[in-house]
């Protein structure tokens, strides 16, 4: 996309140079005609040069991108998905100068099954969520009742954060709903933990455009910035069909677990709300641990 914009800009500039002499002919008659012809020649040459250089750059880019957008997303999925995982996390919600903290534990199985339980603060203690494929339920201890989170509720805020229930549900199966196109490369900051300290590094990332190929998606377009070397997403911008940017997500604190790199820090900003941001700190994570299948049942919600 960036490359295309460059070409368009070049055309635009040359067009304007070409039009200005024609629109205001030189008062000196023949001299003006000669100058005009020269300008045409210069313009044609410039156009050819631009075109050739552009083609050359395109070829270089294509050669450099010996990988497609789909392959990149598949590599990200391979890195970010697991058989099972157990996590402990802290959610920090910023609204203006106010800060709210929530802690939780979670279990995941594959890409479409998950369980989460809030431990603090007291008002949210014991609230549990269960996700099985496209269904999600919430257990409220005050009612002692399991409530299905239906389509309408999915867009709403998850426990007062910038995440929606749908963000939790739609984290997987991107390629089933989106067409992935590699559009450019950019340098994006990504944090790593070195000697106990978080260090931001400028990392070269693939920029992959995900455009919805089905109607039932919350975000019509997603632009994902994927670390070229580690295949970890560093940033994701989420757009509505109108083109309006709805949310911004960043990731960081990338650590190595065996052969996989995994980010333990995430931020989400809902741009429809002023001055709010949610940080998610994964304080503990264990991959491919034995998890009792009963954890992922509605029976477990009422325990």
């Amino acid at each position: 996309m960036k490359y295309k914009i460059e070409i368009l800009n070049t055309k635009s500039e040359t067009n304007s140079k070409f039009q200005i002499p024609n629109s205001k002919p030189s008062p000196s008659g023949r001299g003006g005609m000669v100058r005009c012809q020269w300008v045409r020649v210069v313009w044609i040459l410039a156009f050819l040069i631009c075109f050739e250089v552009g083609s050359l750059r395109l070829d270089v880019a294509r050669a450099a991108w010996a990988i497609t957008g789909e392959e990149i997303i598949k590599k990200v999925d391979a890195n970010m998905t697991f058989k099972t995982a157990r996590t402990e996390a802290k959610m920090v919600i910023h609204v203006d100068q106010e800060i709210r903290e929530k802690t939780m534990i979670g279990y995941d199985r594959g890409t479409d099954t998950g369980y989460a339980e809030f431990l603090t603060p007291p008002r949210d203690k014991g609230v549990k969520y269960l996700k099985i494929k496209d269904n999600m339920w919430m257990y409220l201890p005050s009612v002692d009742k399991i409530i299905k989170i239906s389509g309408a509720m999915l867009r709403q805020s998850l426990m007062g954060s910038d995440f929606s229930y749908e963000d939790a549900l739609e984290s997987s199966k991107l390629l089933e709903k989106y067409t992935a196109t590699l559009i450019s490369e950019e340098v994006v900051p990504l944090t790593f933990r070195e000697a106990g300290e978080l260090v931001a590094k400028q990392r070269r990332c693939y920029v992959v455009d995900l455009t919805a190929k089905v109607k039932d998606v919350t975000y019509y377009r997603r632009v994902v910035y994927v670390d070229k070397e580690l295949f970890v997403p560093a940033r994701e911008d989420l757009y509505a069909m109108s083109g309006k940017k709805l949310k911004e997500m960043t990731m960081g604190d990338v650590r190595k677990f065996g052969a996989r790199h995994y980010p333990l820090y995430m931020t989400m900003r809902n741009l429809l709300r002023a001055n709010s941001q949610t940080e998610m700190f994964t304080t503990k994570i264990e991959f491919d641990v034995a998890v009792d299948p009963k954890v992922f049942t509605q029976g477990n919600l009422t325990k």
Partner: protein
């Protein structure tokens, strides 16, 4: 009696052995006592560590203007403690004592203003977990159905002003309840209410499962001498972002009659985050003409709603992550009376919540929300109430 020395020795030996046995028994008793006391102490200490407390303190400042213009003020204090004690991983005790104190210049239409100025245990039950089923024994909340305001399949709380009343203040029952999972998202739920003789007590059974994007449940309740109830409730998505729910109950009466109650609901969230919740309720036991209202049944609690057709429209606007604004309108479609209940909520600090709430009742005379004077001695009909609620959660 003269005894031979041998016999005497034997007796001494026997006595000695007897006294030894007694000493041994005393020693054994002391040892057992010691270990019992020590073990109990350890158990108490470890139990204390397993005891979990939470709860809240809420202060409501209330102002009311009654139908005839009489003003009233009140201060309502609510303290609720929720304690969970895990004897083992699979056996726990939950108790929920609460103490409510109301100081009011006038009678107030507060749904939770019962059993004031005394310690009450709203919930107190033992729960036993096993792989096959969970067993709950004691005073507990049993909430069935998919409706928001109306739950005709729930015989304990068929009608709750959910936008105005805390869930903790709804009716609890003393019962034995068994919940058995059937697969990942299915289950069987059965209860027997335990405070009446068998012939009179309620016995319920509910089976639920998930099919596609829908939760389906079928239920049956034997209400003893009060009749029977067959129920069905469904909740899910018909199309993207449009949630629907439906609850249907066919009820028979002790007199041999039958009627239907049903709820039809729809939820939608707009792109700007505004949530819309609409519910229509058909009450087969209600009257379409206000002249036929059974006010007596309503006053003694054998009837929950007077009319046949009701509509609820609720909106939720999330201003930011800690601030929401909700409006609720409950309308009686038969007599055109209504209730309007806006709520502004803000989580003002990590464990502090502030709610500004109001309730306005309106409609024609002798309607449900503007009742005849004889059925509204406190003059709540067409009244206006405002509340400032401050809650500390711990």
């Amino acid at each position: 009696m003269n005894l031979q020395p041998e016999t005497k020795n034997k007796q001494i030996t026997v006595k000695f052995q007897q006294s030894n046995s007694k000493l041994f028994l005393v020693f054994l008793f002391l040892v057992i006592s010691y270990f019992t006391v020590f073990g109990f102490g350890l158990f108490v200490i470890s139990s204390a560590q397993a005891l979990e407390f939470s709860g809240y303190y809420e202060n409501d400042l209330i102002g009311l203007v009654k139908k005839e213009g009489t003003p009233g003020i009140a201060d309502f204090n609510k303290l609720r403690i929720k304690a969970d004690h895990y004897f083992t991983d699979k056996f726990m005790l939950h108790v929920e004592p609460r103490y409510y104190l109301l100081a009011a210049s006038e009678a107030m239409p507060l749904a939770s203003a019962n059993d004031l100025d005394q310690l009450k245990f709203d919930r107190a039950y033992f729960k036993l977990y096993s792989n096959a089923a969970n067993l709950t024994l004691g005073k507990q909340r049993i909430a069935w159905g998919s409706g928001y305001i109306w739950n005709p399949t729930d015989i304990f709380n068929p009608f709750v002003l959910a936008f105005a009343v805390r869930e903790e203040d709804t009716t609890n029952v003393t019962a034995v309840r068994v919940e058995a999972p059937l697969g990942e998202a299915g289950g069987l739920d059965a209860y027997i209410v335990g405070d009446k003789p068998w012939e009179q007590t309620a016995k319920g059974l509910r089976v639920k499962n998930t099919v596609g994007l829908f939760d389906l449940a079928a239920s049956y309740v034997d209400q003893g001498t009060l009749g029977h109830q067959f129920g069905l409730d469904v909740g899910g998505d018909i199309i993207k972002d449009v949630g629907v729910h439906c609850e249907l109950a066919l009820k028979t009466t002790a007199e041999g009659g039958a009627f239907i109650q049903s709820v039809w609901g729809l939820e939608y969230t707009f792109d700007n985050g505004l949530g819309l919740n609409i519910e229509y309720y058909f009450n087969g036991r209600g009257a379409k003409n206000k002249a036929d209202y059974d006010w007596a049944a309503l006053s003694i609690g054998t009837l929950d709603q007077l009319a046949a057709d009701y509509l609820y429209i609720g909106t939720t606007a999330i201003i930011n992550e800690i601030t929401t604004f909700k409006t609720s309108v409950l309308a009686n479609l038969n007599d055109q009376s209504w209730m309007f209940y806006p709520v502004y909520s803000r989580n003002i600090a990590q464990n502090w919540d502030l709610n500004l709430e109001a309730m306005v009742l309106g409609g024609p005379d002798d309607s449900e929300f503007v009742p005849p004077a004889v059925w509204d001695p406190n003059g709540f009909g067409r009244s206006k109430m405002a509340q400032v609620k401050l809650t500390y959660n711990f």
